[in-house]
């Protein structure tokens, strides 16, 4: 079946339907990771986005239950060059196509994804829509222009959990790197779920911590009432500036002497809470190869990234130190409060997909929690 991807700039790409039939709109972004399409599909941070994989052969190793980052695919749509007709891996349970169809994800294949990526790189990310079957591309362009913009959108409410729950540790599989150390006492983390990737929880488990997960809208006092050794602010979708309640809660938490760690959206919320500002990047960082320099040691980490907004370095207050910088474009990748046990990174130390270079951040969080 034919499919079309139309963009708000008036261009469209004809290809083949590669998932569920229908129409799906969202912000069109690209991801440059060569592995981990399943992790990408199920990452809640992609809510509202149509993800283009720059790696041309997708679906080769199928879908495996254990590789999910949330219950189901989260992307608004999926764009690829070539879809594998088979799933070839001993762990795989179904083909990508079956998974997309079953999950109702509209996808398109056989388009020039590199051309699309170049457009997104030079004009910036834009709204788009995928439709399968016989459709009028011009009408589709008009529809793309009516897709809700990402700026100012609170997408967290779509992906956060409904009620607090205790994360049930899953057995560590053979692929999981061992933790750098284990805690000397029982540690409990209270985590804000803005659309948390499961691998963050798996890493906390690997580091011997218990986690209680709270909805994004839960008041800070609920988290503090659980007497956590540390508080974690998760990744998630959308514009951080639209999350007034989350920023407010973060400020409340920072009044206490509890270690706080944030990743991605959590990092942006903490930054806003500390007085910095965020802005939208032209085409974001999405991939598994971004070099980040830890300024204190000078060490370079290859990191997993997925964000469309960033913290403006010039607005970072004096009592907050920039700890990590992106070596591609110099953007802020990590912050630490000068006096409070608060630190956060823009990228994804939990990887999934991507390198494990930044796993030490989980150990650092452990260190902070044990200090108290």
């Amino acid at each position: 079946m034919k499919a079309i991807l139309a963009l708000e700039n008036g261009t469209w790409y004809e290809g083949e339907a590669a998932g569920a039939p229908g129409e799906a709109g969202g912000e069109v972004v690209f991801n440059t990771s060569m592995t981990g399409y399943q992790e990408v599909l199920t990452d809640p941070s992609y809510k509202g986005q149509i993800v283009t994989m720059t790696c041309p052969e997708i679906g080769n190793y199928g879908i495996a239950e254990d590789d999910r980052e949330s219950r189901a695919p989260q992307v608004a749509g999926f764009v690829i060059r070539d879809q594998s007709p088979v799933a070839s891996n001993w762990r795989s349970e179904e083909t990508l196509r079956d998974y997309l169809v079953r999950s109702g994800v509209v996808a398109i294949s056989d388009i020039d994804t590199r051309a699309l990526t170049r457009v997104l790189r030079s004009t910036g990310v834009m709204r788009g829509i995928i439709a399968t079957g016989e459709v009028d591309p011009r009408a589709l362009v008009d529809k793309a222009r009516n897709v809700a913009p990402m700026e100012g959108a609170d997408l967290v409410l779509d992906v956060t959990c409904d009620a607090p729950f205790d994360w049930q540790p899953v057995p560590q599989d053979e692929f999981t790197p061992s933790a750098q150390r284990q805690p000397t006492r029982a540690l409990r983390i209270a985590a804000y779920d803005y659309g948390m990737k499961w691998n963050i929880l798996r890493r906390f488990t690997a580091y011997g911590c218990d986690v209680r997960v709270f909805p994004a809208t839960a008041p800070a006092s609920d988290l503090l009432a659980s007497k956590p050794d540390g508080v974690f602010l998760s990744n998630g979708p959308g514009d951080p500036a639209a999350l007034g309640y989350a920023i407010h809660n973060a400020r409340e938490l920072m009044k206490e002497d509890v270690p706080i760690f944030g990743i991605c959206l959590g990092h942006q919320i903490l930054s806003l809470a500390m007085g910095a500002e965020t802005y939208k990047l032209k085409f974001g960082h999405r991939g598994a190869n971004h070099p980040v320099k830890e300024l204190e040691t000078g060490r370079v980490e290859i990191t997993s990234q997925n964000h469309g907004f960033a913290v403006n370095a010039e607005t970072v207050p004096d009592d907050v130190k920039i700890t990590h910088l992106n070596l591609y474009d110099g953007t802020v990748e990590g912050l630490r409060h000068a006096t409070k046990p608060v630190f956060c990174v823009q990228y994804h130390p939990e990887a999934a997909p991507g390198p494990h270079d930044a796993d030490y951040l989980f150990r650092q969080f452990l260190d902070e929690m044990e200090k108290r």
Partner: protein, 1089 residues
């Protein structure tokens, strides 16, 4: 300036001659490293015995030693140059082994030289399999069960414990020489015994077999701050059991989940740390069990490698260049990424295309060789292709191989018809071809798929991952649907799908039963042309500044050609015997010269091992197959901006020449000598007429298409004869016949192989002295002779397999003058503009022209190194209209000293193959020896080629009757330099009759101990054995084989023997001295180029 300020002068070790397992990828990496070090302000001293390299161009290093790569010679260079450091990681296994030897001999300590890039400890951990195994276990990495043994008895004991199949890996041999897989105790005895013999330390590792597991490689880099990046992942389509150099490989890895991939990456990081490679690149190989995901580490190379050259070309990340900088103390984040300019080298390239590498073998040269692929590498070259999908890259790679009709995957001949096999026999043959890896296995896969076998059945037989097999079956499906509708009924959509799957016009024409032009026209009518995409290391995330391009049937083209006048240089494709590095060298020089002349240079080539495919070498690089479709597509695209486009075809060997006429017909301007002149020189009759008109002698010759014709020709010109098919490369299928019976046999075979193709028959000039001449000529008719190279071996040995020397040392002045005159007149008559190679033979005071090739020859780089004049560059300037006078070249070139070129052979890898030389070329590479006397130069060349000439000892002589008178002087000279002589009965009697002492030894079939036993018992140090006249006997072959496997020099020509004695005398009387090319060149008159 470099971070390390303690290093001012560095010695870079090259990899020596091209051999199987170590090819021109090390010219690429070494050149990059030298350039990078020089750019950092260091003084670079280079040693490499291989003159056909770009790295030994005198401007690449400050001082260039084209000297044998032995510890003694390196010590002499170190003593003379006193470098602060040695960089051993860009010269392959050769350089690493030398570094270890220099450390062990105390040379490094004595002169206070440090190793950079890799420490001796790191090399030892990576190379010594036992140490490596222990190191891996220490960091929790799984390795195959293994035992290290030093005798056959120990080996047999270990075999019991490991169980079959067992992998046998000799320590410290190149490319797995002497190794293999044993499935039973018989095979095991044989392979283990051979491995023990061939290992320089007489050790082999016996290893648990993981045959059939998936095989992966990671190319990784680390800097001295412990920053670590993976440059590229490579997946082997052929599972474990086939050497990675013989495997079809693909980048990136395509069948790994992120979890599996990251686990491998984590392991790689721990491995490079544990092995202790502090700076630079490494290659790490892994095997993964497809059934349960168990991962084991196979090996690690603490240096740049063939795979890292591939990874560099596949990603655009210049590993060798960066490795050199890291060795100086830079951190990865301090080095910019050349392609994006704004981002640093501390990242992991991500690619939005698929790269496929396919090896190219030369089994047609070694008909008796075993074509089974095992752990010992057998291929001589490789191609790489890039496409947006695996299918596209795969199909492009296969057409890049240039295998002609034999290369076509679709619609292969039906062996039930062609070879008269029954259906059952055919099926059995197919099963064997699929289950036992061999060079034709991929064709068997396609044959089976066309026959309706399923990917699942093929997986059972081949263990190739199902994903790949399904891709192949999709290709077969596509061609089936094409065949169904035919060209007329084909929709644009289907045509587009076929083209996007990488199927060429020619392949499609084969499927559709029409000609290529019809497909091409149908395609062009719909406006369907290839788009060109950039290789940018980052999947388009950032802008790229280097036009490194590949073609694909996609929507957007990023070629963005300029309006500048440009020259397209066609490369030489995959390395093969007869067409190797020398031609890539020439192509690079064309690019350098034309860039200096202000042209925009465009390179098209598909060989990832080369300097020509370095994006630095030219202004615009197209990594594409060298077929008419691909080349003309690129030229058409380059023409679109309006700039004048012309094309160089005379530098890349036969590959571009095959395209010359069709390109010219398509209206593309060919620079230099016209394709018609090239054809004239190739065309026997036209060329004979030309020589007749010029009054230049040529050996009597004729042409025949049937055995009867051939008999007639033989009757007129008389035996012996040289016979060969027309238009061949490297003397393919060429033979010398001495009688009618042999002629008939040859003709019957030839006619059966290609009916109707003419066979060329020449009088064989027995015992003649052969010479090669390279000259350059301009459009005004001026000709400068670059040099006259005298072959050491007499006529009948392919010129590529003969040692030669410049200047000629035995030719009288009158003959030299005549050769110069002939060369000039022929060049003018052919209207040569550019390079010309001519071969002559002198017999009985007559000089015959053997052949003339108005194009780059194999000897151009060697001669350029000897004379100091870059002939290929000069010729390129002549092609765009400069004159020799303008370039200041008015006299024929001179050399200071003697320069000997000696070939190296791959026989050691092909058990059972005779080592005798003949008219069919068999060498893979060459070395040069330079000195002030012929003897010393020849000795150095032998040393460089790995021939260990004995200072004294016992020489075994066995020559045919024809050679007996001439062997007397050699025998006398041998006695004089202190050798004892032994000989077979006939030769001994002859020697004794002429007053020489010689003991008799038995021939192999005469009783024991025979000559073979004596060689094995170290009682013979030199073998002189000329084939018994017209037929080569088993006995001779056995002797030669034993000598070679035992490292005893075996000389099969008398002229070679004379030169060898000369060399031994020189070794015994003169101290070995070293001298840089720059010093030699300073002695000849300075010339402009």
């Amino acid at each position: 300036m470099p971070k390390r300020t303690d290093i001012k002068r560095v010695l870079v070790i090259g990899s020596g001659p091209i051999v199987i397992g170590q090819a021109c990828e090390f010219d690429y990496s070494g050149t990059q490293a030298c350039k990078a070090l020089k750019a950092e302000g260091l003084e670079v001293v280079l040693v490499n015995s291989n003159p056909a390299t770009i790295m030994t161009d005198p401007e690449i290093a400050d001082r260039t030693y084209v000297e044998p790569l032995t510890p003694e010679v390196l010590a002499a260079i170190i003593e003379r140059e006193r470098p602060d450091a040695v960089l051993p990681t860009v010269g392959g296994q050769t350089a690493l082994n030398l570094a270890v030897a220099l450390a062990e001999r105390g040379t490094l300590a004595k002169y206070n030289v440090q190793l950079i890039g890799a420490s001796v400890d790191a090399i030892m951990v990576a190379e010594d399999r036992l140490k490596f195994r222990d190191a891996m276990r220490e960091i929790g990495a799984d390795v195959p069960e293994s035992r290290y043994v030093r005798s056959l008895a120990e080996a047999l004991e270990a075999a019991d414990a490991l169980g079959f199949p067992i992998i046998i890996r000799p320590s410290f041999t190149l490319g797995g020489v002497g190794g293999g897989i044993a499935y039973n105790i018989e095979e095991f005895r044989e392979i283990a015994g051979r491995g023990l013999d061939m290992s320089p330390v007489h050790e082999v590792l016996l290893e648990e077999s993981v045959i059939g597991w998936k095989e992966f490689e990671l190319e990784v880099m680390r800097d001295c701050a412990d920053n670590f990046v993976v440059i590229c992942s490579i997946e082997n389509v052929d599972p474990m059991g086939v050497h990675t150099g013989d495997s079809i490989t693909v980048a990136p890895a395509l069948t790994l989940t992120d979890k599996e991939y990251q686990r491998m990456r984590d392991l790689a990081r721990r491995i490079i740390r544990r092995v202790g490679v502090e700076t630079g690149g490494s290659n790490i190989q892994f095997a993964i069990n497809p059934d349960d995901g168990r991962i084991i580490v196979i090996e690690m190379n603490p240096r740049v490698s063939r795979s890292s050259a591939l990874a560099s070309k596949a990603t655009g990340f210049p590993i060798a260049k960066i490795a050199a900088k890291l060795a100086l103390g830079y951190h990865l984040d301090e080095i910019p990424n050349d392609i994006t300019r704004l981002t640093p080298a501390s990242f992991e390239p991500t690619i939005d295309y698929v790269v496929v590498k396919v090896p190219r073998w030369a089994f047609e040269k070694f008909p008796r060789a075993d074509r089974t692929l095992t752990t010992q590498m057998k291929s001589v070259g490789e191609v790489m292709a890039i496409g947006r999908t695996f299918k596209e890259a795969f199909m492009k790679a296969f057409r890049s191989l240039e295998l002609g009709a034999a290369g076509l995957l679709f619609g292969q001949e039906d062996r039930r018809v062609d070879e008269g096999l029954t259906a059952e026999e055919e099926e059995g043959a197919l099963q064997r071809e699929l289950s036992v890896p061999n060079d034709r296995r991929m064709w068997a896969v396609f044959r089976a798929l066309e026959r309706g076998w399923t990917p699942e059945e093929l997986h059972e037989l081949t263990k190739i991952d199902r994903w790949f097999l399904v891709q192949f079956s999709q290709l077969v499906e596509l061609q089936r649907s094409a065949a169904l509708v035919g060209l007329r009924g084909m929709s644009t959509d289907l045509l587009r799908t076929l083209k996007r799957a990488g199927i060429s016009d020619r392949e499609l024409a084969g499927v559709l039963g029409c000609d290529e032009a019809a497909v091409r026209n149908a395609r062009l009518e719909t406006g369907m042309v290839a788009a060109y995409k950039r290789i940018d290391t980052c999947a388009a995330e950032f802008e790229s500044f280097t036009p490194y391009l590949y073609g694909t049937f996609e929507r957007e083209c990023e070629a963005d050609p300029s309006t500048r006048p440009k020259v397209v240089i066609l490369g030489s494709g995959p390395n093969r015997i007869g067409q190797g590095l020398e031609f890539d060298y020439c192509c690079c020089h064309a690019a350098f010269a034309l860039r200096e002349e202000g042209f925009e240079t465009v390179m098209i080539n598909c060989n990832p091992e080369t300097v020509s495919t370095d994006y630095d070498t030219v202004d615009r690089l197209y990594f594409e197959p060298l077929t008419f479709e691909d080349v003309s597509g690129i030229i058409a695209r380059e023409q679109q901006a309006g700039g004048d486009v012309s094309c160089v075809v005379q530098y890349g060997g036969q590959t571009p020449l095959k395209l010359a006429l069709s390109l010219q017909q398509a209206g593309i301007r060919i620079l230099g000598t016209s394709p018609d002149s090239i054809d004239l020189a190739e065309d026997r009759e036209r060329f004979a007429q030309l020589l007749w008109d010029l009054g230049i002698p040529q050996a009597p010759s004729g042409v025949a298409t049937t055995p009867d014709d051939a008999r007639e020709v033989a009757a007129t010109i008389g035996f012996p004869l040289v016979v060969r098919p027309s238009y061949v490369l490297g003397g393919r299928a060429m033979a010398i016949v001495y009688d009618l019976a042999a002629l008939d046999r040859y003709m019957v075979q030839a006619v059966a192989a290609s009916p109707g193709r003419p066979i060329l028959i020449d009088k064989f000039l027995e015992d003649a002295v052969e010479l090669d001449v390279d000259a350059v000529a301009d459009a005004t008719g001026a000709v400068v002779i670059g040099g006259i190279m005298e072959h050491i071996e007499e006529a009948g040995i392919h010129s590529g397999d003969s040692s030669c020397v410049v200047p000629p040392h035995k030719i009288i002045d009158r003959h030299v003058a005549l050769i110069r005159d002939y060369t000039r007149r022929i060049a003018r008559a052919l209207k040569v503009v550019g390079l010309m190679n001519a071969q002559f033979a002198i017999k009985d005071d007559t000089i015959y022209v053997l052949e003339v090739n108005p194009r780059a020859s194999r000897t151009v780089p060697y001669l350029s190194k000897a004379t100091g004049v870059p002939l290929a560059k000069v010729a390129a300037r002549l092609m765009i209209g400069r004159t020799l006078a303008h370039l200041g070249l008015t006299e024929d070139l001179e050399v200071a000293g003697f320069f000997v070129k000696t070939p190296v052979f791959p026989f050691v890898r092909f058990p059972g193959v005779d080592t005798i030389l003949g008219p069919e070329m068999k060498s893979t590479g060459e070395v040069m020896g330079a000195a002030s006397t012929f003897g010393a130069a020849f000795a150095k060349a032998q040393l460089g080629a790995g021939v260990k000439l004995p200072a004294t000892g016992t020489a075994f002589i066995s020559v045919n009757n024809h050679d007996k008178p001439a062997v007397l002087q050699i025998a006398r000279d041998l006695g004089e330099v202190g050798f004892t002589l032994v000989a077979t009965r006939g030769t001994a009697n002859y020697l004794r009759a002429h007053g020489l002492e010689a003991d008799i030894v038995f021939k192999v079939n005469e009783g024991r101990p025979h000559v073979g036993d004596e060689i094995l018992n170290n009682r013979i140090q030199l073998v002189i054995n000329t084939p018994l006249g017209r037929e080569s006997f088993f006995d001779d072959r056995t002797v030669r084989r034993i000598a070679m496997m035992h490292g005893v020099p075996c000389i099969t020509t008398l002229t070679g023997a004379a030169a060898t004695v000369n060399a031994i005398r020189s070794l015994n009387t003169e101290a070995l001295t070293v001298r840089s090319l720059q010093e030699y060149h300073a002695e000849t008159a300075p010339r402009k180029a």
